[in-house]
Symmetry: C2
Subunit: 383 residues, 2 copies
């Protein structure tokens, strides 16, 4: 099935005019179809404050034809949800949460390389995002490269962000084992960023896949890395953190994986290493799993055998106590402590959930038996 | 309240004639009182096969007076359950499981040193067992010593086994911080074992406490270390494993702590270190908690504030999903895997629970919602 040119043009236009994530534009495209959505935006129609805010700055910047041509010149293309090669299973977690800016489904993806992005996630498929600090230690780099090679040997594509440190080593390990590796960028698919990874990115584009929400020519910007991290998590069955400091980009990727209901695996390290502090904290959150070996990780990612994914024999997936809860409840649960009660104010602060929403989240957790009220002292985790 | 001499003599006799653990003799002493129990055993009465088996080898070996005199000569004494200084709260977990040989309450304890063994566990008290491999790495030794000093600074007595490696460093760290430290031995309280720790043991006896189930003169034997480990776990609020290999003595102590319902804390290390393999495996068992810092450990051990332990305001203790289940069910739960189903035969093998008992344990776990049957493929953990 060929995707009509007008759909490609419409989505190329939408991707450029609405800085990702663009949940309102994504929703509009879902409601009206991308062609009509693009036409209305281009025509200056009043589409309400949400869409208006997302397209205000660039609605007249219609460079769809140039963007498509530039990608084609690199051997790349625009992959759209209307394409049968669209990674629908990978994106399913996003589509279910249209109200959350952070979890907006991408309007389309620029891709470059021979690997198929729809073969990463879904029944019978296993892949792993291997992420971590740019300023990684020798220990972390060794694990990233060695384990990525082992994952590749086991048939799992390795997804990462092409950054210095852990990301780069993960891609290199997968390539060294002749595996598939996917780099999700925060800039155009032509860009050698970081410059030191120019050859690595060429190798990934030749043998794996380079993916981005940003058109050719787009420069990396700080917020784009954070936005990009949700796609790394989405394009893998589970996310493995090799090394992470406190509040690192990698821990954001872990958070995204968790919100998407995917396994989060953390590699331990010396407690004397600041580069493992983030991992050790995550390992205590009740959701992430500590993995001491590739074998642990493969077990936690589940079997690669397609038989095991049949609906008839439900895959023995690890179930988390927070499965099925709202995103807000999951975050509040993560902010609860096992031993000392937390005040509602502390939960607002720790969870990042708004004061208005925390009580409802607590009700949800109470109903699920996951929180106990300890008199006036506050709330603690019950399990 | 002074304990009558005849009680001391009776329990000294029982401790020597029944090699610990001696659940049948302990139960007899509970039923008849130690004086009558000792008299009947000494008199050769038929007390059934269980008591008979426990005392068959040494029932005529009545050296109570000599044992008491030898301890007194060292400044030590026999602490008995009839003494108000008996660590009743620490031993409560044992008393509740009289049928399990491994969990037999000690008939009495030989103690030497100024520290009070009843001030380790109970309302308003916090202490920590710091254990690990004898062949520890520099990393592990550093953590044992540094963290033990921090625990001592925070007011927590440090309990360990006086072995080479982690144990010795833990005692040293606590002593260096002028803290209380308790060494539980698998031999007589006078013995310098290991010889390299002669001075360390003297320091512990002078400033802390040396504890043993074995009379003066008793030699350490392999099985005594395993039996002793249950007392290390019992005499601390929680057990911290600094470094442990697979199937190490330290992981037995962790197991004992778990069976007693006490927190098990594990320190992560490099995945490249064989000395951390046991810890990383434990961290995946759903019961143990990974601790990346002394702060984590103190949080998991709970507040030291006596107010928090009042029955009126129930202490915010970490609850495990297996709380309240039988020992067999806890073991079978520990043997279950999250992802791949296990056959009943595999559960027997992994849990060490007898084939006859495993079905009942599975019924218990089913009733608690902790296990799911996956068709013909076996059993897996539901949470």
């Amino acid at each position: 099935m060929t995707v009509p040119e007008e759909v490609l043009h419409a989505r190329a236009y939408l991707l450029r005019v609405a800085e990702p994530p663009a949940p309102a534009v994504a929703h509009l495209a879902e409601l009206l179809g991308p062609v009509e959505a693009a036409a209305r935006i281009r025509g200056g129609a009043d589409l309400g404050p949400h869409v208006g805010a997302e397209v205000a700055a660039r609605r007249d910047d219609d460079r769809a034809a140039e963007d498509l041509a530039a990608a084609a010149a690199l051997g790349g293309r625009l992959l759209v949800p209307e394409d049968e090669a669209w990674p629908a299973a990978a994106m399913a977690g996003f589509a279910a949460q249209p109200g959350h800016a952070e979890w907006a489904v991408p309007l389309a993806l620029w891709v470059r390389g021979p690997a198929a992005v729809d073969e990463l996630v879904g029944p019978g498929r296993r892949s792993v995002a291997v992420v971590g600090s740019r300023a990684a230690s020798g220990y972390g780099k060794w694990i990233a490269r060695d384990w990525a090679a082992s994952f590749a040997d086991a048939g799992l594509p390795v997804v990462s962000g092409a950054a210095l440190g852990i990301d780069g080593e993960a891609h290199r390990g997968a390539l060294a084992a002749n595996g598939t590796t996917v780099a999700v960028l925060a800039c155009g698919i032509e860009r050698a960023y970081p410059a030191a990874h120019a050859r690595l990115l060429e190798a990934i584009a030749e043998r794996g896949l380079v993916v981005s929400e940003y058109p050719v020519g787009a420069v990396p910007a700080r917020h784009r890395f954070l936005v990009r991290n949700r796609l790394i998590a989405a394009l893998a069955t589970g996310t493995l953190l090799v090394e992470s400091g406190v509040r690192s980009g990698a821990s954001r990727t872990a958070w995204a994986a968790r919100e998407l209901g995917r396994p989060v695996l953390v590699v331990p390290g010396p407690v004397t290493s600041a580069l493992s502090v983030g991992n050790h904290t995550l390992a205590r959150d009740g959701y992430s799993t500590l993995v001491g070996s590739v074998g642990h990780a493969l077990a936690d990612l589940g079997p690669i055998d397609p038989e095991a994914d049949r609906p008839a024999a439900e895959p023995p997936r690890r179930r988390s106590p927070v499965d099925g809860l709202s995103g807000a409840a999951v975050r509040v649960h993560g902010a609860l402590r096992g031993h000392a009660p937390s005040s509602t104010a502390a939960l607002v602060r720790e969870s990042g959930v708004t004061p208005r929403t925390v009580p409802a989240a607590l009700d949800e957790l109470l109903a699920a038996g996951l929180v106990v009220r300890d008199g006036d002292r506050g709330w603690s985790r019950s399990v």
